[in-house]
């Protein structure tokens, strides 16, 4: 059916457009579908007709989900489809407004996360949920600390178990420093370690790979394989469809809170998933030719203590330069230096040929540089403010005359961006933290434009974004380049860098390891440069 462009309206109208009755369902996968061979009784989890509302906004409508022991059941769907909400019901965070749950055949009702844990349901939620001030050891055992004979904390045993877990997941960090000081990727791995530190029957992972790079994803998948063999059921959410095909046995597709299909993975292909997710085929899209202009941004031998060294690069008007590398390579730090939030000890930076030293983000914004951080929660969102304010905070001057905000002008801009980026929300007054992860990300991309920037730096721009949205964001970025912006894209996803970039700069441990033209760029060449294999 036709995709309705306008955001708020779109969301609702599309909801209306799929009446539960004539919804496309493959034969044999109606309510209470079972996987071939598996009968009701040996199902580990069997959830029926789950429904969830927030206010009058129905975000889950009559959804079934079943998992057999040793099965990896993937859930896919667009941003805002209701995946995390479903997970939160299974994890006892939200109470369903309707439906039932059976675990090993027994009816259960989960009043709290604690209750879910007691039933052996362990969840890794989409947003990191660690206590930043506590150490890795403490975070892993939070809620189930090991005690010694006197009921006191058994530090030695917990430390030993932790080292074991970290080794098993090949995480190389000091487990005694506060986790708040570790990278998001490292924190995500610690959450995984925490999850497997308890005896789980059902392990639920909500977009665990979003912040991981290739190597860490492999580690995670090995782990999942092992858990499968131990008969543990796994629910796995990802926007990277290829990952579904790598590890899932069955896949359930959600669209606008309704289940549009559940199939064994071997019976389906990429296009089927996409069509079930977004209700139509992708029209193939080829990026138009862009002509390059002058060099806008130039780094020459830029260095910063303990982060990166002798970085030289150029970005021309209308050019997209990819910055590839493993997590920890120092790309973010480079971006931060360009944006003026990180002092650089050596080297020079030029804007339109003139050497500049930026005192801070304000100066950078003034000079037409925009930066979208990789860490949405810490450096992006104004969590308890409306989407509208979130999108315009970076350049309020633009919506001000005679010192007074012109709210009509502001609304116009925001409405425009919401349509442009197809952000799904109940309205621009919605508090941003109630949006789904992907839509939050889109809103922050919109914010970057408020300053009419000439240089844009996107750090992991599609982190946690669905494939549909991804394509929109790619197009959005390419359009910007077309309009003559100089763009630097940091991404840990090879195909993303390759897909977008005219040139690719690969960083390894704080240095430029290689510079690849589009032609010579491939996953292999990048990986080799990034890891020095």
């Amino acid at each position: 059916m036709p995709r309705n462009g306008s955001a708020g309206a779109g969301a609702t109208s599309r909801r209306r457009s799929i009446p539960a009755s004539n919804r496309v369902r493959p034969p044999g996968f109606g309510r209470g579908a079972t996987m071939r061979g598996a009968t009701m009784t040996d199902l580990l989890l069997d959830a029926r007709g789950l429904t969830k509302r927030f206010g009058d906004n129905v975000v889950l409508r009559d959804v079934d989900l079943s998992v057999a022991p040793g099965e990896v059941h993937a859930i896919v769907g667009e941003n805002g489809a209701g995946k995390s909400t479903l997970i939160k019901i299974l994890g006892g965070v939200h109470r369903a407004d309707g439906g039932s749950m059976r675990l090993e055949g027994r009816e259960i009702s989960l009043s709290s996360p604690q209750a879910a844990l007691d039933h052996g349901i362990v969840v890794i939620h989409q947003e990191l949920s660690l206590a930043p001030h506590l150490t890795t050891v403490e975070n892993i055992f939070l809620g189930h600390f090991l005690r010694n004979a006197f009921g006191m904390l058994d530090h030695r045993r917990m430390r030993a178990r932790t080292d074991e877990l970290l080794k098993r997941l090949s995480i190389d960090i000091d487990p005694t420093i506060p986790v708040g000081r570790l990278s998001i990727a490292q924190q995500q791995m610690i959450e995984i370690a925490k999850a497997i530190s308890v005896r789980a029957k059902l392990l639920i992972l909500d977009e665990p790979t979003a912040v991981l790079d290739a190597n860490r994803v492999d580690t995670l998948f090995e782990l999942i394989g092992r858990l499968k063999s131990e008969g543990i059921g796994v629910v796995f959410i990802s926007h990277h469809l290829e990952e579904i095909f790598r590890i899932a046995d069955r896949v359930t597709v959600l669209r606008d809170g309704s289940r549009t299909g559940t199939e064994p993975v071997r019976d389906v292909d990429h296009d089927w998933l996409v069509s079930r997710m977004i209700g139509r085929e992708f029209e193939s899209y080829t990026s138009k030719q862009r002509q390059r202009g002058e060099v806008v941004l130039e780094l020459e031998g830029l260095s910063s203590e303990g982060a990166f060294e002798a970085i030289s690069l150029q970005v021309r008007a209308g050019e997209i330069v990819g910055l590839a590398g493993l997590i920890g390579a120092g790309r973010t730090e480079v971006a931060q230096a360009i944006f003026g939030v990180r002092k650089h000890s050596g080297g020079t930076m030029r804007l339109n040929g003139a050497a500049v030293r930026l005192s801070g983000p304000r100066a950078a914004t003034r000079r037409g540089i925009a930066y979208v951080s990789e860490d949405r929660k810490a450096f992006g969102l104004l969590p308890n403010r409306p989407v509208r304010e979130n999108m315009t905070i970076s350049n309020l001057a633009r919506f001000t005359s005679f010192g007074v905000l012109r709210l009509s002008r502001e609304r116009a801009f925001v409405r425009e961006q919401i349509e442009e980026l197809d952000i799904r929300l109940s309205g621009m007054q919605a508090t941003i933290s109630t949006l789904s992860g992907g839509n939050q990300q889109k809103a922050l991309l919109g914010r970057a434009l408020a300053g009419r920037p000439k240089v844009l730096i996107f750090d992991e721009p599609t982190r946690g974004v669905d494939i549909g949205a991804k394509r929109e964001i790619y197009r959005f970025i390419e359009d910007l380049a077309e309009e003559g912006a100089a763009i630097l894209v940091i991404s840990s996803e090879m195909e993303e860098v390759i897909r977008l970039s005219d040139r690719i700069i690969v960083m390894r441990s704080g240095r430029v390891a290689a510079e690849l033209q589009r032609a010579e760029a491939s996953e292999e060449t990048i990986m080799r440069a990034a890891t020095m294999a």
Partner: protein
């Protein structure tokens, strides 16, 4: 901080916040309003004189001093800060008004007193924004420091104010409304406008909501934070003006412990101590709740010791009602 039923809380770090968002600004305020209206209805039954015009005028006059402080405090709390020094800064301005009026005219005394208050606020602001001192400590220090100034300036003895014009400023009426009430409303309107209609106001919310994000968005966090404390100080000066002109005496203990009343008014008014959420309208309602409470307890002649019991209990109940009614 506050425990919530799992169902009401999405697990993202902004958990507590997003819960508050569900009862959004507006709803939140109707919550407070509900509490106030309930209180007024109950009061009018408890004492038939309560709803009389002169008494309502009394209440409006009585809340003006703390109400003005609370408006300034709202700015600070919106940035996730706190200003414990407003009571003492009020004290400094009060003794300055009195002292200067001994030799000078109102035209000299008023601006000087308020400027001094802003200066003390500036010190707070610089300490918080640029020396990295936690607001609680910075303003706690100022609480003691400014009080010391007031004592030293007066030598501990109150300075009487004999200027009739000044006296009338605090005790007169304009359009039948007590001047202090008008000053409160004026402060309120200006503040409300600044907070909702100007880039600065918008940024104040942003700083309180996520300081790092605000900074990365090019908001001059340091500067604006400083300004916020200058505002709080200046507003304390205005409140001091009302105090001095109403009571026509510059006593060095003026405003002692008012900071708690002001903060209570702000929080009862639905502004979050964790920043980024709230409004001066809420603060006004919060102020009125506390003011009406004091008034009705006096009218019904409740034993002063028992009054303390009630006051404590009722503030809690008011906030409870607010939370409930806004969850609905």
């Amino acid at each position: 901080m506050s425990e919530t039923t799992p169902s009401s809380r999405p697990r993202d770090g902004a958990g507590t916040r997003s819960r508050q968002q569900i009862f959004s600004a507006l709803i939140g305020r109707t919550g407070v309003l509900a509490a106030l209206i309930l209180l007024i209805i109950v009061s009018s039954f408890l004492n038939d004189r309560f709803l009389s015009v002169p008494n309502l005028m009394n209440v409006l006059r009585q809340v003006s001093i703390v109400g003005i402080l609370a408006v300034g405090m709202t700015f600070v709390i919106l940035t996730k800060g706190i200003d414990l020094s407003v009571g003492s800064i009020l004290g400094v301005s009060v003794v300055l008004f009195a002292g200067i009026l001994e030799t000078q005219s109102m035209a000299v005394a008023i601006p000087l007193g308020i400027l001094a208050a802003m200066a003390l606020g500036l010190v707070n602001g610089l300490g918080v924004a640029f020396a990295g001192i936690p607001p609680f400590i910075m303003t706690l220090g100022m609480l003691s420091f400014a009080r010391g100034l007031a004592f030293i300036y007066t030598g501990g003895t109150p300075i009487p104010i004999l200027d009739e014009a000044f006296f009338n400023l605090g005790n007169g009426y304009t359009f039948g409304v007590p001047n202090p009430t008008l000053i409160l409303l004026g402060t309120l309107l200006v503040s409300g406008f600044v907070l909702t209609q100007t880039p600065f106001g918008r940024s104040v919310y942003a700083i309180g909501s996520n300081e790092d994000a605000a900074r990365l968005s090019g908001v001059p966090v340091g500067l604006y934070t400083t300004i916020v404390y200058v505002i709080s100080g200046g507003v304390a000066g205005i409140s001091g003006l009302v105090y001095a002109s109403q009571l026509s005496v510059g006593t060095p203990i003026a405003g002692q412990a008012y900071e708690l009343d002001a903060i209570a008014a702000v929080v009862v008014g639905g502004t979050s101590l964790f920043g980024g959420k709230g409004s001066v309208t809420g603060t006004l309602i919060g102020t009125l709740i506390i003011g009406v409470l004091a008034n009705i307890l006096n009218l019904t002649g409740v034993d002063p010791f028992v009054q303390q019991l009630f006051k404590g209990a009722l503030i809690v109940v008011a906030v409870f009602i607010m939370a409930r009614s806004s969850r609905a």
